[in-house]
């Protein structure tokens, strides 16, 4: 019933998507940190 190649491909795609999602989330954490600093800086400058 089970096709090992199909299952391997599902697992491979899940791993890739999880990795890409983790990288995007890490990138957003860094971006939001710097956006917050920039916004605070612009409020003090105004």
């Amino acid at each position: 019933m089970s096709d090992p190649r199909h299952l391997d491909e599902v697992r491979r795609r899940q791993r890739t998507r999880a990795l890409v999602t983790a990288l995007i989330l890490a990138g957003l954490v860094v971006l939001f940190f710097f956006v917050t600093l920039a916004k605070i800086g612009s409020m003090h400058g105004a």
Binding site: M1, S2, D3, P4, H6, L7, E9, V10, R13, Q14, T16, R17, V20, L31, F34, V35, L37, A38, K39, G41, S42
Partner: protein, 301 residues
């Protein structure tokens, strides 16, 4: 559990999800938005400038995903688009819809929070205009689809400008007009040599409904209007000679190619060299014109 997983459809790959955003279109959007942002000469923190361009790119990607979600059946009928992730069955429709709606909301909210809500409002309008007005309403119903739908592609420089400066003045409005007038000759040149594709899919593109001769006449008319709009910022005193001379030279070349298209009688793609040249040149035209605008505005500053 294992048996159920082994027969389940494959999840969309990260590459296919990326392809949903139409990366090639996105690169033009990023470039035009960046030109609008720099040409505004408004002081903006580099991090906020980067975030603005990222949001505009994500908004364009969301529009592309929603467009492909709605047009999956249509794309499957055309050779040019049959290998897109949805048309080829590599991504299911609900994934594309969720991806597009989620990306739209994220890009608009982040743009509003990081720059200003005028820019966010324009981005939301651009996404809705492309996904609803153009994709769902105009494209399947009228041969003027490209003319009015072209407005969706004309938003990025306006967006870049609004994100940096918080307002919209005459020059970004002219930039909007330039891309609006550039779109019909650009797409109709393509539609002429892929006419059979559009006809097979039942899309009422002008070459399909009005014929090649009428389309070539329209290309020439829009090219004349485009040339006038492209040169206009110079005599209006909004730019200097660097932009003015470049715009004049590029527009003359564009017009020369449009005249060659107008005089062409070919009905088969093999004889449509002028149309292919005009299509290729139109992309170079837009990149160079906006590049000259940025150079001009920076040097004037």
């Amino acid at each position: 559990m294992i048996a159920a997983e082994s027969t389940a459809p494959l999840p969309a790959s990260a590459r296919d999800l990326f392809a949903l955003t139409k990366p090639r279109v996105m690169s033009l959007v990023v470039f035009t938005a960046l030109c609008g942002l720099i040409a505004s000469r408004a002081p903006i923190d580099p991090v906020l400038g980067f975030t603005a361009i990222l949001c505009i790119a994500l908004g364009a990607g969301a529009s592309g995903a929603l467009n492909q979600w709605y047009e999956a059946d249509l794309d499957a009928k055309m050779k040019r688009t049959a290998q897109r992730p949805l048309a080829a069955g590599r991504v299911d429709r609900s994934t594309a819809l969720h991806f597009g709606v989620g990306l739209s909301a994220f890009s608009v909210i982040l743009l509003g929070l990081s720059t200003n809500w005028l820019a966010a409002g324009i981005l939301a309008t651009a996404i809705l205009f492309y996904a609803v007005v153009y994709t769902m309403w105009l494209k399947p119903n009228t041969p003027q689809n490209i003319v009015i739908g072209g407005a969706a592609g004309a938003f990025p420089p306006l967006l870049g400008w609004a994100a940096a400066s918080g307002d919209v003045s005459v020059l970004p409005a002219i930039l909007f007009l330039i891309i609006f007038l550039w779109t019909p000759p650009h797409f109709w040149a393509l539609a002429l040599f892929v006419k059979t594709d559009y006809a097979a899919a039942g899309v009422p593109m002008l070459p399909v409904t009005a014929g090649a001769k009428a389309t070539r006449g329209q290309i020439l008319l829009y090219s004349v209007a485009l040339a006038a709009a492209a040169v206009a910022p110079w005599p209006l005193g909004l730019t200097g000679a660097i932009y003015g001379m470049t715009a004049a030279a590029l527009s003359l070349a564009f017009l020369a190619l449009a005249v060659r298209v107008w005089r062409n009688q070919a009905t088969e793609p093999a004889g449509m060299g002028p149309e292919k040249k005009l299509f290729a040149f139109s992309i170079l035209y837009l990149y160079t014109l906006l590049g000259a605008l940025v150079a001009d505005r920076l040097l004037l500053a």
